[in-house]
Amino acid sequence: MDNYVIEMLHITKEFAGFKANDDITLQLKKGEIHALLGENGAGKSTLMSVLFGLYQAEKGKILKNGEEVTINNPNDANRLGIGMVHQHFKLVEIFTVLENIILGVEPNAMGVLQKKDARKKVIELSKQYGLQVDPDAIIENISVGMQQRVEILKMLYRNNEILIFDEPTAVLTPQEIDELIEIMRGFAKEGKSILFITHKLNEIMSVADRCTVLRKGKYMGTVEIKDTTKEELSRMMVGRDVSFKVQKDEPNIGEVLLSVKNITMPSKINKKNAVKDVSFDVKAGEIVCLAGIEGNGQSEVISAITGLERVKEGTVTLAGKDITKLNIREKTKTGLSHIPEDRHKHGLVLDYSLEENMVLQRYWQPRFQHNGFIKKKEMRDYTEGLIKQYDIRSGHGPTSSARGMSGGNQQKAIIARELDKEHELLIAVQPTRGLDVGAIEFIHKQLVATRDAGKGVLLMSFELDEVMNISDRILVMYEGEIVGELNPKDTTVQELGLYMSGAKRSRKEKGHAK
């Protein structure tokens, strides 16, 4: 018993009668890396919020080094040495790295800020743990990876012994992930204890010592990583077998469907071009993936094709028709389906019901309207059909408010809408972002099925596993150019990472590549 630094015993937390955490026990040993695994909504965040003092559990207790403690707010947690790196960083964008690190615990003499000592301590810490940062850089100017290091330094500066990482790898490149894993191992060696929240099994297998699995608010067990497999973990997490390898045959590639020629797009944040003279094709029956680190022009390429932004230079041809200057409705009619990057901003009208959202791209078709009056019954029947076909779950069926649906089901609804409508080319932008393995599996199957039906698929994704598993061809973008065209069968994640970080390039973006 004595070697546990933190024990959360039989924690139950209810929300209006629903148990978000039902008798969950989590025991963290000193110096271990402990993974907390579960689907979205399994109760991981609730459990961490209880540990962090944001919620009070109805039942159960928390022990620190064997003694019971009460944690009523994050300050209590901090005093007990618990620190957390949130998935979305909590940094003041316009402050420097140093100012962010000392925020809340500013050293001062009579109210006057004493930065000198703080700076010394930060520099020492960053050297000690290999966390390279420039203390005087402004947060908004540094990379996401460095921002994360700032968050980690914040915990170290406060002498936290228990470090919680909430999905820390979601925003990182493979190289950065490797670095982070090294850093985490270093902490563990120092005797710090790490709680690592994730739903990526590979990372758990490579870094964690033990893993606690939650499913639907219930405790599924704690396992030693060395005694388990990926398959077993996923079975514990989802409750059934999940296939990680997407089942797909060789592509049956047909004619060129989408042809992008010499596209240039302006940047929204500065005067440079976000996309520089980019050309590529997507053929019928293949899945082409635009890979790259966020902000290297992929979104702008997609906007140019879908018409969300006006094309500055270049042409877009779909099924032999120049669609560069067509409005969005005309593009839709030409055969474009689009699963947008931001499902809340573009994909759904959240204040509309599910059925109203299902006809968002089609309400004007004779099937759904007569003389300008919407056919409510047709709309409802249609939606009910899609709900069955795509297993969209919601509280009140077609009349549920889109806002009240879970992220996974919102995404399923969009996918159902876009796939069911007549289309030649499907553009899927981060279709699985934030979804759990079950939903991801479903969406991947749909993408492959679309391809096998002879349609073209243009996928944009930051998830490297997805890129490698799904696509037939990978186009890597770096700083607004396509720097590499790779076949996922002949490449590795590491090589892909090198292209993404700009360390390697093979394709001169000039003229029209095949």
Binding site: F15, A16, G17, H86, L350, Y363, S406, G407
Partner: protein
Amino acid sequence: MQNNKNSSKLKMQASRIMKSKGMGSFTATLLAILLGLLFGFIVMLIASPANSFNGFLTMLTGGFGRLGDVFYFATPILMTGLSVGFAFKMGLFNIGASGQYTFGMFFALYVGMMWKLPTGIHWIACILAGMIGGMLWGFIPGLLKATMNVNEVITSIMFNYIGMYLVDMFVTNNASMYVPNLTRTGYLPTTAQLPSLGVPNSNVNVSVILAIVIAIILYIVLNKTTFGYELKATGFNKHASKYAGMNDTRNTILTMIIAGGLAGLGGAFAILAPTGITGSSMTYEPINVIAANGFNGIAVALLGSSNPVGIIFSALFVSHIQRGGTQVSSFFGYKPEIIDVVIAVIIYFSAFAMIMSSAVGRLLKKRSRKEAVKELEQTLSSEDDSLKEKTEV
């Protein structure tokens, strides 16, 4: 523990009832009105404590004795309320209802006085002219908004002034419309006046029926047609409507034209009304004042939650309070200005309380959404994971 469970169950049931959409906004409106009345009472209490209770009672009930007038005075603000509410459904804030209203008045007056048309057609032509006048004054801010993204609030405020001064100028310069020694326009020919409903001692006329019919038509347009679907989609989420290929430019202009037309109709209904004295009618006084009915329309729209049917009732409520108020000043020795203040306090507190309660309602909704989501044991995507939001605290 058992107690706890029961109370949480009760809470859930209560919140289910509150969650039903219509019920929610209805109770919110009632609460808002009560709050407004309370503040109105406080003002009366301060102004004259002795008369405050009876005065306040008269204010609440006085309108019932003069129902004809309640309907008569409700008509213009019903129309401006519809104007503001309709534009608001598309996310546009039409603060220019006053200017559109004034322009509608002028167009209706002009056709009424300057054109000779047969009986039975004349007043209809005047109404249509008023609508066109308002449409014109709505069209320009709409065009500027749609093509150059000029904020419609700014343009329509400016258009209130431009419209008012232009109309004052047109009226005073027109010798056959203006009666200089009375500083107002002359009476309309009877052919141009709206048919009265024949309620004794009241100006109430056919326009109130037209206004209610228009409100119902708007309700149908908003809820049953593709145009209404597009409009609301744009109002809720303009990015999604763009993604869905809706024509934002066209819809913005069209919405402002319709909103302008509604306010213009309000102006026409107000000016074309016959008065109690046979042969006389309402007149326009060019006194460089922006029509208050336009601004009252904002309060009416807010109080009616921008729902056309709700606006019918909120217009009647506002009109009712105003009628009661005029009686208070004549019977209880309150200065008319104080009564105006009280009326304004009631209307605006009601409307603002409405905004506040809807903000509170949204918060509650968000909470209950979180709970509902969990209730269904469904998964929340990581980026909108509500729990993470909490962790941000």
